[in-house]
């Protein structure tokens, strides 16, 4: 390969040229796996349902019909609850609650956790201290953490939000820290430092992009855990305040009628399972895409 090839040859396309948006390009690879497509289709359907809920059921989740605890019928596919409200409608509104919760709480947890994990870049000792603090949070089971938060600030949406944010911090923090420790000693990061590239630029250009992959995979896995935290707290009656439905709250009351009206738990149960399944599959697909070279 001679170094002085004429630029005239530029006409032929360089097949091995890097794509213009390499990161985006890589994540689009998610679509190449069966799991990724299944996950996105599933998730898309659920999100669309939740978004369209007000349009589909303009009566809202509180609309009551005549009979309480009626079995499935053409009008009420999953039957009605103890106040005569349609279970399917409440399930979809419950899904809306859950989605809002995870879509706000998980990214916040990811962001704060990552920042905490990266404190070691500013100061080694501070990083070590933060790591220890996160280890302690990790030692406390998520649900117990939720109960403690409920005790302090009272049950409700914000308690669930805080529980999800705090319980995720150790995972994201540890991962970001582990990534930082390996990445900052990578030769290309050292090479940039010796060239005199400012520390902040090294961080943004060379360290962060290489830490992001495992963080995203973990975020997808953690979303499943977040759904579980919401549902668990709601099932023991420490979740969303009634009458607002959430999947866990529906399961909580539904469990009381499991013998007489099984659809009361089956409906929200299946939706919860599908939601969790979508994120499990998404994490698999992301993991695969991240490891592709």
């Amino acid at each position: 390969m001679s170094a002085t090839s004429a630029p005239a040859r530029r006409a032929t396309k360089d097949v091995r040229r890097a794509p213009r948006f390499p990161t985006l390009h890589r994540y689009l690879m998610v679509l190449k796996s069966g799991r990724g497509i299944t996950a996105l289709v599933l998730l898309g359907t659920l999100v669309a349902l939740a978004l369209l809920a007000p349009a589909l059921f303009p009566g809202g989740y509180d609309e009551q019909s005549s009979g309480a605890l009626a079995g499935p019928s053409a009008a009420h596919w999953l039957g009605t609850d103890e106040f005569g409200r349609d279970i399917l409608v409440r399930t979809i509104y419950g899904l809306r609650t859950d989605l809002t919760l995870i879509i706000t709480a998980v990214p916040v947890s990811l962001a704060i956790g990552t920042l905490l994990g990266l404190t070691g870049y500013l100061n080694g000792r501070l990083g070590l201290f933060v790591q220890r603090a996160l280890d302690i949070v990790l030692g406390i089971p998520g649900l117990l953490l939720g109960i403690m938060i409920v005790l302090v600030i009272g049950a409700g949406w914000f308690a669930l939000f805080s529980a999800i944010v705090i319980a995720g911090l150790p995972q994201f923090g540890r991962l970001a820290r582990a990534g930082l420790l390996t990445q900052q000693d990578r030769e290309y990061a050292v090479a940039s430092r010796t060239l005199g590239v400012p520390r902040r630029t090294v961080m943004v250009r060379h360290i962060l992009p290489n830490v992001v992959d495992p963080l995203l995979v973990t975020a997808a896995i953690y979303t499943v855990a977040a759904i579980f935290i919401e549902a668990s707290l709601s099932i023991v009656g420490l979740g969303i305040n009634p009458p607002q439905p959430s999947l866990g709250a529906l399961l909580n009351t539904g469990a009381r009628y499991v013998q007489t009206l099984p659809t009361y738990v089956i409906g929200p149960g299946v939706v919860l399972l599908l939601l969790a399944l979508a994120f499990t599959l998404l994490s698999d697909a992301l993991n695969k895409a991240a490891n592709r070279r």
Partner: protein, 314 residues
């Protein structure tokens, strides 16, 4: 080995200490006066003062904390305001139930998790791998309470073969007791077992790429023996760590499972106490749970050291 454990000691003590401080601070973090809250809306200032004195709330925080810690060590766990009984009694009544559940679920977690993982990791047939992976993914997406509800629907409602509500102590009547225990334990353990299984499986796949497996092949070791002697033991580390971490979640999961199966255990006690703001009980439950969780983690460290001489002899 002992030196290795001694090095772990400070962090264990630190976790317990911090947890105790958090548990202690809980009622004091709540806006408002706990004594006034307890006394009810119509109480006179004298009554509130009396309650405050009874709870020791009029003393400095440090004194209160030390007093409370002393109680923890001597077994004086305080009095439940909800039940008007000593906390130690309340817990003593219920600990058996939770212990039975946790022990059986823990056993299931280890056996099923590692068993499934090894099965998936050592199978090379396409369909069997597909089957195990499918089951695994579904189980990963299925939280314990959902598994519990599913089991209730199938084995309690559709084909009523097992009791779905209440309990009988295994110690007093093993045959009936185990029947009551089996569904809750499965519900609690299986979803977590899926996570463990997946760890074992991926680890086994990566260990199979190691050079020492090639060396074993080159010296003529049959493939069964390679799995047993070379792959398996090198694959268990991450799973053991995960089991240690998951044990705390298992205890927490018991809260939900007890609610669904109407078992009267520590979890139920914690929930009712939380709903009634009965701090004396909650504080003990928190410290106790974290203590057990930390001990479980320590146990996994020992297991890990037993598995890997590089840790043991470091």
């Amino acid at each position: 080995m002992i030196r290795y454990l001694v090095r772990k000691l400070p962090s264990v003590v630190l976790v317990l200490l911090v947890t105790s401080v958090i548990a202690f601070s809980l009622p004091r973090l709540v806006p408002g006066d706990p004594a006034a809250l307890l006394a009810g809306p119509d109480a006179s200032p004298q009554t509130i003062a009396a309650i405050r004195a009874e709870l020791g709330l009029d003393q400095p925080y440090v004194t209160q904390y030390l007093h409370w810690m002393q109680g923890l060590f001597t077994g004086d766990l305080g009095t439940s305001l909800q039940y008007r009984r000593p906390v130690s009694e309340l817990i003593g009544d219920r600990i058996g139930s939770t212990l039975e559940l946790a022990v059986l679920a823990g056993l299931l977690l280890v056996v099923a998790g590692i068993g499934l993982g090894v099965a998936a990791g050592s199978s090379n047939r396409r369909w069997s791998r597909f089957l195990t992976e499918g089951t695994n993914t579904t189980m990963l997406a299925m939280p314990p309470f959902l598994a519990g509800l599913l089991l209730i629907l199938v084995f309690g409602v559709a084909l009523p073969v097992l009791p779905i509500s209440g309990e009988v102590s295994v110690l007093s009547d093993p045959v009936i007791g185990i029947q009551y225990l089996i569904l809750p334990a499965i519900a609690l353990a299986l979803p977590m077992a899926a996570g463990i299984a997946r760890l074992v499986q991926t680890q086994m796949r990566s260990v199979q790429q190691e050079d020492f497996v090639d060396l074993a092949t080159a010296k003529g070791v049959p493939s069964g023996r390679i799995y047993r002697r070379h792959v398996l033991r090198n694959s268990l580390g991450p799973a053991v760590v995960a089991i240690g971490i998951r044990f705390g979640d298992l205890l927490a999961g018991a809260v939900v499972i007890e609610a669904i199966f109407a078992r009267n255990g520590i979890g139920q006690l914690a929930v009712t106490s939380a709903q009634a703001s009965d701090y004396a009980v909650i504080q003990v439950v928190i410290v106790g749970t974290v203590f057990v969780a930390v001990m479980a983690q320590l146990l996994t460290e020992i297991t890990l050291a037993a598995l890997d001489p590089r840790i043991r002899l470091a």
